[in-house]
Amino acid sequence: MTTQVRTPPKAAHVTVVRPRRSLAARLAEGVGGGLVRMFLIVVGLFWLVPTIGLLLSSLRSPSDMSTSGWWTVFGKPSQLTVESYQKLLENGDITNSLLNTVLITVPATVLVVVIGSLAGYAFAWMEFPGRDWWFLAVVGLLVVPVQVALIPIAELFGRIGLFGTVFGVILFHTGFGLPFAVFLLRNFFAELPRELLEAARLDGAGELRLFARVVLPLGGPAIASLGIFQFLWVWNDMLVALVFTKSGTQPITVALQTQVRQFGNNIDVLAPGAFISMVVPLAVFFAFQRQFVSGVMAGAVK
């Protein structure tokens, strides 16, 4: 209805403008299908080429790498070799750091999901004084930069003997993952149908059973988003691990970072190493795109 009412003046307006728009109009017509497709293909190549470059670099011998570009592979596919990967996987430091990455990432993800959903449930469905204020305070912590905590926590961990341990890194990631977890899960849990919870309550379910049997299963989608997000965030982290680990407890990102300092001589370590470190996040990304995207949307302000 409103559009109908508004149409006449608008049409009149456009007619007035029409004589002036010839250039823009021609441009827009030019941006017809063909050009758009061309543009998007070029952009797509722009986005793919760097990653392909890394992959092909990791599959060439160091001597080939020092003399010619990775794109020469297309003319001479015989250059391809998995030599660098074999050497890398025999390197104890690298395999150990991969293990550390897993040992840090999995517990840090599980802890955030468990602790975050407990708190999220409390904020959504329990009544206690100052509930909303507490929740808003937690949300306020969403944007606190990790850097603020590096020095104080390094000092704290040093005092209580957690510095350099895997557990210390897990704790840190859990702490900084929690604001987002609580924010996301509280909002999702609050939308659950009240009748379901009341029904379970009338069946005599205690608070813990209500949480475990009703809220957690229903919260699946949000928990999946959170889990994927936290997993990728911890797996990909370098800064936190750089500060809080020492040589035996380094994850792959820190191990590779130390190699970057001699970049040029050791591309045969860096390229396959970087690619191995990317495989898991990429697999998670392709397998759970939808959850990943909804996590991104929910956390747009993190």
């Binding site: 149409t7 608008k10 049409a11 007619t15 029409r18 823009a24 109009a25 827009a28 941006v31 998007l40 952009v43 986005w47 760097p50 570009g69 990775w70 602790i115 407990l118 708190a119 409390a122 904020f123 469905w125 329990m126 009544e127 206690f128 929740f135 937690v138 949300v139 944007v143 606190v144 930069p145 990790v146 850097q147 603020v148 905590a149 590096l150 020095i151 859990t174 702490g175 929690l178 609580v182 609050a190 309550r201 005599g204 608070e207 209500l210 990909n236 370098m238 800064l239 590779l256 300092r261 970049f263 860096l270 390229a271 970087a274 690619f275 990429l282 998670v284 990304f285 949307m297 747009a300």
Partner: protein, 447 residues
């Protein structure tokens, strides 16, 4: 059991109110659910804020009180000043470029059938670590055009449009008629018509000779014109070939530019043919011949992406590669939620696609664009990994940003006071966003 009855009793009167609680839980139970989260948040997020504020007023050792000295250092320390300047460049350009690209991609992908595949490709870098992205772009930006793809493409384009000079390192041999002048070479004496000129040089590696070069030919004298030959006066093997004369197997300098100079002015010029011969008109009579410096430049070697002046834009490029997909996905979601009738109505009214985009789509998307830009700004404020990884040691100081400077001051230079001041400064910068988040949410919570 008791809690269940209690719940039944208190839930009933609570129901009509908008506050949701099914249970009328005892406060201790609520506290138990919240305790782990609050303890961790308190110890790992809130306590460090307080500590940093206090520490930022302390001196280097942490025992004494330093007043505002650490904050003064923010604006006097050279390293921090560079970092601050770069951070401003980052915050201004990285989010806006990413958002603009995201907007363009989101709008255009709606028009092609394989839009989803395209989105996947652009969004994918978000899943990988900044470390991996850093290594990827370290490779991309490699200075050597034979290794770095950015320079390979750039040099390719450059050499298509600009003529590359072919004779680096060429120079006169012994007893040469040529002498060096301003990066090029000039004949010692004036030349005259009817007497062929010899312009021999040596020193061009065989594989660097232009591919079109043919066997050099002694130029024939021509009345009323100046003729000559310029060639590589060198035959392999000791003592083979005569100095200053064209021998068989010696190659002409195809494409060499020759200028005739009289009283400091160029009166004529020519380019050598494939066999090294050239011809100049009569007005060059009495001039000296010059091989200008342009002939002897090193071949174009591309852009020094990671050099001091370009390093920050180059890293921002890597960041945009990672985050344009984020902007695109959020904007695409916003686009899907737009009322199609409005766009159609505008088209029916005769608006072209550009007008629809500029006057309808963008204004309607403004809230989404704002959220995306602000999110990226916060993200960029904390940028660390890319700046830590991509620049080579020589230009790391020029690429410096606050988060990196904080790390350096705190952990390599052992100056926690200044590092804490940087931390507090970063925190102050995000506080407006914090307030905005809380205000937006308070309305929702109070529903």
């Amino acid at each position: 059991m008791t809690s269940a009855t209690a719940a039944g009793a208190s839930a009933a009167p609570a129901a009509p109110k908008s506050r949701k609680s099914v249970t009328g839980t005892r406060k201790t139970v609520a506290a138990l659910f919240l305790l782990p989260a609050l303890v961790l948040l308190g110890a790992l997020v809130v306590y460090p804020i307080g500590y940093s504020v206090v520490r930022s007023f302390g001196d280097a050792s942490g025992d004494g009180f330093a007043g505002f000295d650490n904050y003064k250092a923010l604006f006097t320390d050279d390293g921090i000043r560079t970092a601050l300047k770069n951070n401003i460049i980052w915050v201004v350009f990285a989010p806006t470029v990413s958002t603009a690209l995201g907007l363009v991609f989101a709008v255009l992908t709606e028009r092609v059938r394989w839009g989803t595949a395209f989105k996947l490709v652009v969004f994918m870098p978000m899943a990988i670590s900044m470390l991996a992205a850093g290594i990827i772009f370290r490779l991309v930006y490699d200075q050597d055009p034979d290794k770095g793809v950015a320079n390979a493409v750039w040099v390719g384009i450059h050499d298509t449009f600009a003529q590359s000079s072919a004779f680096p390192k060429a120079h006169p041999g012994r007893e040469s008629p040529l002498t060096a002048q301003g990066g090029g070479f000039i004949t010692r004496t004036a030349v005259h018509t009817g007497r062929p000129v010899a312009l021999p040089l040596v020193g061009v590696a065989p594989d660097q000779m232009p591919s079109g070069a043919k066997k050099a030919v002694q130029a024939e004298p021509e009345p009323g014109r100046i003729t000559g030959t310029t060639w590589q006066d060198f035959t392999r093997g000791k003592g083979v070939g005569r100095l200053g004369a064209v021998d068989p197997s010696e190659l002409g300098y195809a494409g060499m530019r020759i200028e005739a100079v009289k009283d400091g002015r160029v009166v004529a010029s020519a380019e050598a043919a494939a066999d090294g011969t050239f011809t100049l008109p009569a007005r060059a009579d009495g001039a000296r011949l010059r091989l200008p410096a342009g002939n002897f430049k090193e071949p174009y070697n591309g852009v020094d992406w990671l050099g001091p002046s370009l390093v920050t834009p180059a890293i921002i490029g890597a960041y945009v590669w990672m985050w344009a997909g984020f902007a695109m996905v959020l904007i695409a979601a916003g686009l899907a939620g737009l009322p199609r009738e409005l766009l159609e109505a505008a088209r029916v009214d005769g608006a072209n696609e550009w007008q629809v985009f500029r006057r309808v789509t963008v204004p309607l998307l403004a809230p989404v664009l704002a959220v995306v830009t602000v999110t990226l700004m916060i993200n960029v404020l904390k940028i660390f990994d890319l700046v830590f990884i991509i620049p080579p040691g020589s230009s790391q100081d020029d690429a410096n940003v606050l988060a990196l400077e904080l790390y350096r001051k705190g952990f390599s230079e052992d100056r926690p006071g200044i590092a804490s001041a940087i931390a507090v400064f970063l925190l102050l910068l995000v506080i407006p966003v914090m307030a905005f988040n809380i205000r937006r949410l308070r309305r929702e919570v109070r529903r």
